[in-house]
């Protein structure tokens, strides 16, 4: 028996119609994987955030690493190892004068490159700093005594930076202490801005000039303390420079620093 063909539907319109394909079996709906409650973020999001985390942590790590490797006390001249850096008279030059004879301070190439790469990001987030507290060694403090004078040279105000009696609470005192330290540290870019501090004191008290005296407050050895010497004994203060600033004077770089004694200078009973 011959197989019967299904009858074609009669009529022209039916002939024009394409033959209907058997309907595709509908795919079962893809089951959504239930999100792991222990790991709610998708792998893609975690990957992206992981990259951001790595970038950020590198930016946190690099600036203190760079600063740790490049402090002034560890400065290495760009000359063959062991070769001294001397001036024309044959005297050894300190690092801050190497450039005078065309010798640069060496920077670690990889870390310096990384620091440059992260520079703006680190600046924006204030992670562009080191964490070198009391290092390489705890050091002496500086104090500035000031006297504001009127047009006739008569004192109208006087004080000390920092001074616990005037500056309270403790954080306010500490800010003044940092102000003095950061204007007196040789490596610090603010070194020598005594004139601007003086100008502000003049604006504050309304004087015509201000006389400022910088002193180093040296630290006592344990033996001196055992011997009964007080840490605020007058002999522990070493006056290193006095200068007078008149209203409107052009700032002079390193005005007071000029009179600081050479490194290593000691005063009796005190360890610098």
């Amino acid at each position: 028996m011959a197989k019967q063909r299904p009858e074609k539907p009669s009529g022209d319109s039916a002939a024009d119609k394409p033959v209907e394909k058997p309907a595709k079996r509908p795919k079962p709906p893809r089951e959504k994987k239930p999100r792991d409650p222990a790991m709610p973020w998708s792998p893609a999001v975690r990957t992206l955030v992981s990259l951001a985390v790595l970038f950020h942590l590198a930016a946190v790590f690099v600036p203190p690493w760079f600063l740790y490797l490049t402090p002034m006390h560890k400065a290495t001249p760009a000359v063959p190892p062991g070769e001294p850096v001397r001036d024309a008279r044959g005297e050894d030059l300190p690092p801050n004068r190497w450039r005078e004879i065309g010798v640069e301070i060496q920077a670690p190439p990889l870390v310096a490159g990384l620091a440059k790469f992260f520079d703006h990001y680190a600046n924006l987030l204030y992670i562009n700093n080191g964490y070198e507290f009391f290092s390489p060694n705890p050091s002496v403090s500086h104090v500035v005594d000031y006297e504001v004078l009127d047009d006739n040279g008569q004192p109208i105000a006087e004080g000390r930076l920092p001074d616990l009696r005037d500056q309270w609470p403790r954080l306010y005192y500490h800010r003044h202490m940092m102000l003095v330290e950061q204007t007196q540290t040789p490596d610090n870019p603010l070194n020598g801005v005594e004139d601007t501090v003086a100008e502000w004191l003049l604006a504050k008290y309304g004087g015509a000039s201000v006389r400022m005296t910088l002193s180093i407050h040296h630290l006592l050895t344990p033996q001196r303390v055992i011997d009964g010497m007080r840490p605020d004994d007058p002999s522990t203060y070493e006056r290193v420079g006095t200068f007078t600033h008149r209203k409107g004077d052009v700032p002079r770089p390193n005005a007071a620093v000029e009179s600081i004694p050479a490194p290593g200078t000691t005063i009796p009973g005190v360890t610098p």
């Binding site: 985390v53 992670i127 507290f133 705890p138 403790r170 055992i226």
Partner: protein, 324 residues
């Protein structure tokens, strides 16, 4: 060869798994919320103190004028920015300052916490850049570090006015564990490890840290001292022990703080060191800020056990319900 590849693949899968578990596991926002409360209070107090001589320290013509930090034609990076570099008038200076204080107070109280956290960080950085160099110190670094990570997570989920407000409206559900809370805390923890590592390493270059006398010289500094440590003059070996312990603790903090057996010891030393700095060296704010940062290593369960009873009393008093 294929077994080697399989081993490498297995290793990488394990690493990825551990990495995910470390960074992306949801955590109760209790620790982050406690940090918000404490760090926000510290930010408020720190910046309130500028009010005592705002023009002198932050104003355009103060002790260190803006033109000294940003001289015309300088090559200083634009990114070392501060809103105070552009402020010329005293009234605007005070307006911004009062706004900043309100933001820090909001952050501390947990009032519109997420917005406050978003604003607090750039404001804190603005102050810090204005006084760097000038009058900055470790406190500013610690404050900015704390503020930076608070903005990443739901820092007002607990111990906040936001939470009390939600309760008042009848939303009494407990805050959900959050990935971003964990992420924020983890970033702060790792940042803290880097902080201590680079605080410890430079000390190895110092003769006094090598000899074990550094703590004496720090204690003998009259300008720092708040409580006397001069008795240490008669205890050189104790001084040396504390000096060496400080260096070892700082350098190895980044390793030992992750181990469950050494973590309590490392954190106890952190509280002792920073507590000592606060009490004896007059840096109460810096010592406290660092202790707050170390609290990031407290598990949320521990924080809840310690803080929830206090928070419950506060909420009972304010909204008549006992919740944390």
């Amino acid at each position: 060869m294929s077994s080697l590849l399989a081993a490498i693949r297995g290793y990488l899968v394990d690493v990825w798994g551990a990495w995910n578990q470390f960074w992306f596991t949801p955590a109760d926002p209790a620790t982050l919320s406690l940090l918000r409360l404490l760090a926000g209070s510290m930010l408020f107090y720190t910046h309130f103190i500028w009010s005592l001589d705002l023009s002198g320290f932050i104003g355009p013509d103060g002790y260190v004028p803006v033109y000294v930090l940003r001289p015309p034609g300088n090559d200083i990076a634009w990114s070392a920015w501060s809103v105070f570099f552009w402020i010329k008038s005293t009234w605007l200076l005070w307006t911004v300052h009062i706004f900043a204080l309100l933001v820090f107070a909001s952050l501390a109280l947990g009032f519109f916490s997420r917005i406050a956290a978003l604003l607090a960080f750039p404001l804190a950085v603005s102050y810090a850049h204005r006084v760097t160099p000038g009058a900055f110190f470790g406190l500013d670094k610690a404050n900015c570090m704390l503020a930076m990570y608070l903005l990443l997570g739901p820092c007002g989920a607990r111990y906040s006015l936001d939470r009390l407000w939600r309760l008042r409206r009848g939303e009494a559900t407990d805050p959900e564990p959050s990935v971003s809370a964990n992420l924020a805390i983890r970033l702060l923890q790792v940042h803290l490890c880097i902080f201590y590592l680079f605080s410890g390493l430079p000390k190895l270059d110092g003769s006094s840290w090598q000899l074990g006398t550094a703590l004496w010289w720090a204690a003998a500094n009259n300008e720092y001292r708040s409580l006397s440590l001069l008795w240490m003059a008669e205890w050189p070996k104790l001084t040396a022990l504390l000096t060496h312990a400080t260096v070892f603790w700082e350098i190895f903090y980044c390793c030992l703080v992750w181990n469950r057996y050494t973590k309590p010891i490392v954190l106890a030393i952190a509280f002792a060191v920073h507590g000592g700095i606060a009490l004896f060296m007059g840096m109460i704010t810096f010592g406290t800020a660092m202790i707050i940062a170390n609290l990031s290593f407290f598990k949320p369960e521990t924080v809840r056990k310690l803080v929830d009873p206090i928070a419950a009393r506060v909420s009972l008093a304010l909204v008549g319900k006992k919740v944390s």
